[in-house]
Symmetry: C2
Subunit: 282 residues, 2 copies
């Protein structure tokens, strides 16, 4: 049991950590830090939080484990204040969806003072945001990627991983660079492609979108995602996103050659290979 769990940002992810930790009895005292006291009041009223404050330094006092549950750029901004406010015995993690820049910032901070950080990315989310959609079972069966580096204190990796497992998740470990390439390949590039398919269909043959059926709706569902959130994500994972985009274009060139060559066997063999790969996805 974590004596004092502090959650900075009590929205969908932070609120779900609070609810799940409460439901599973993983923490004695759960403290929420937010910008808006009235929104924190809902979580207090639910019993998900024991204490709530809009003052970060007050919230961090005596923290055993701190989770920064904010957008990526906010997490990067918060890290310095958190590192100044806590001692080395306090474990700090986050929920940011890109890890390279956050972990680099934390490693830089821990070079000059004792700061016990390891990055996390719970791959659970929703198009919707805010505490109102937080759920105690959000992490049930979800994957959480924890991203230790050579500089990470092993206890941080072990205890943060144990927390996510306690919340119901399956934990995998990847270095931050591999993590960012993985999420570029399975999330950021597919979003970018979906946006481009929608814009491209409209430009290529203007009546096309009127005829979109189930396949197109599924393939491009994510193109209805929030522009501000996705601009930030594309920015935050720019390096890996652009590398995966170049790789995707090479792949499109190869498929184009297969279609142009009109070699029935070669195209069928490639499609069958991709279908088999796709079927490995749960």
């Amino acid at each position: 049991v974590i004596p004092r769990l502090v959650i900075v940002g009590v929205g969908l992810l932070g609120g779900s950590v609070a609810k799940a930790a409460r439901a599973r009895g993983l923490a004695r005292t759960i403290v929420g830090v937010g910008r808006d006291q009235t929104r924190l009041a809902d979580a207090l009223h639910d019993g998900a939080l024991d204490q709530a404050t809009t003052d970060l330094s007050v919230g961090l006092r005596g923290a055993d484990l701190v989770i920064l549950a904010a957008p990526v750029l906010t997490i990067e901004r918060l890290l310095g204040s958190v590192a100044s406010a806590v001692g080395p015995e306090t474990l700090v993690t986050d929920v940011g969806s890109t890890k390279g820049s956050i972990v680099r910032a934390a490693d830089t901070l821990s070079a000059s003072r004792p700061f016990t950080f390891v990055g996390s990315h719970p791959m659970a989310g929703s198009e919707r945001a805010g505490y109102a959609v937080a759920r105690a079972d959000l992490f049930d069966g979800a994957t959480v990627i924890v991203t230790p580096t050579d500089a990470t204190i092993p206890r941080a990796t072990k205890e943060v991983s144990a927390l996510w497992e306690g919340l119901g998740a399956r934990v995998s470990h990847l270095d931050p660079g591999s993590h960012d390439r993985v999420v570029a390949a399975i999330s950021h590039l597919p979003h970018l492609a979906a946006f481009a398919l929608v814009a491209g269909a409209h430009r290529f043959e203007p009546p096309a979108l009127r005829f979109a059926a189930r396949g197109f709706r599924d393939t491009t569902r994510v193109a209805a995602s929030d522009p501000v959130v996705w601009q930030e994500i594309f920015h935050g994972n720019r390096g890996a996103l652009l590398a995966s985009l170049r790789s995707f274009r090479d792949m499109l060139d190869e498929v184009e050659r297969l279609v142009v060559a009109d070699d029935v066997g070669a195209l069928q063999a490639w499609l069958a290979e991709v279908k088999a790969l796709r079927e490995t996805v749960r």
Copy 2:
């Protein structure tokens, strides 16, 4: 009421036409033509068909309306035999998912003899195939694109459109070329992109597919489609597919420039514009 409706190919689409026409009382006699008498027996037994034969010329005798419900290449092969077997009073249509080559073949045939054809593409389908999955409500609310040309006899367009409407569908008219560009943009290119995203993710960062979550599963669901079917579709609509692929790559280049430029406002504005377009898709 159509006195004698002949369906060539009693699988998912042909079987659904039979069941829906029967349920809605649109035809007096429904005749099924197939390659395998035992499979036709199921449709006879269900009461969806009144007669079934494996002999095309027997099946076509006395037909008022003929629907060729086979894969595209089979439809093209069948057209000549059908044109020889029926008179100009018999209306012929098809369900092929590409229209340019089929309609060109039919127009060529009707230049040398009276042959009353108009193309159709019911945009209803499934990953599954065969009479076993045919449903009387398959066309309920579905879109059917009917593709008349300057050579098409207006009565064919009118009566074939009325049949699809009678089966519950919404009918739109497009020339065959526009049809093929529309389906390239909303179906064939998105399939190709989904195949390339799966293959590309695996090549770019091999563990990536292990972490695929809901967004990726939706975006690439169609990459589990049948390789033989999709090789044929890519082949059949090659011209429009390659044109839409070039247009898609131009779009990706533009998005890449937006990401590289790291202009927050420009990227957000583009994403917002695409989101609005996506929201026009029902």
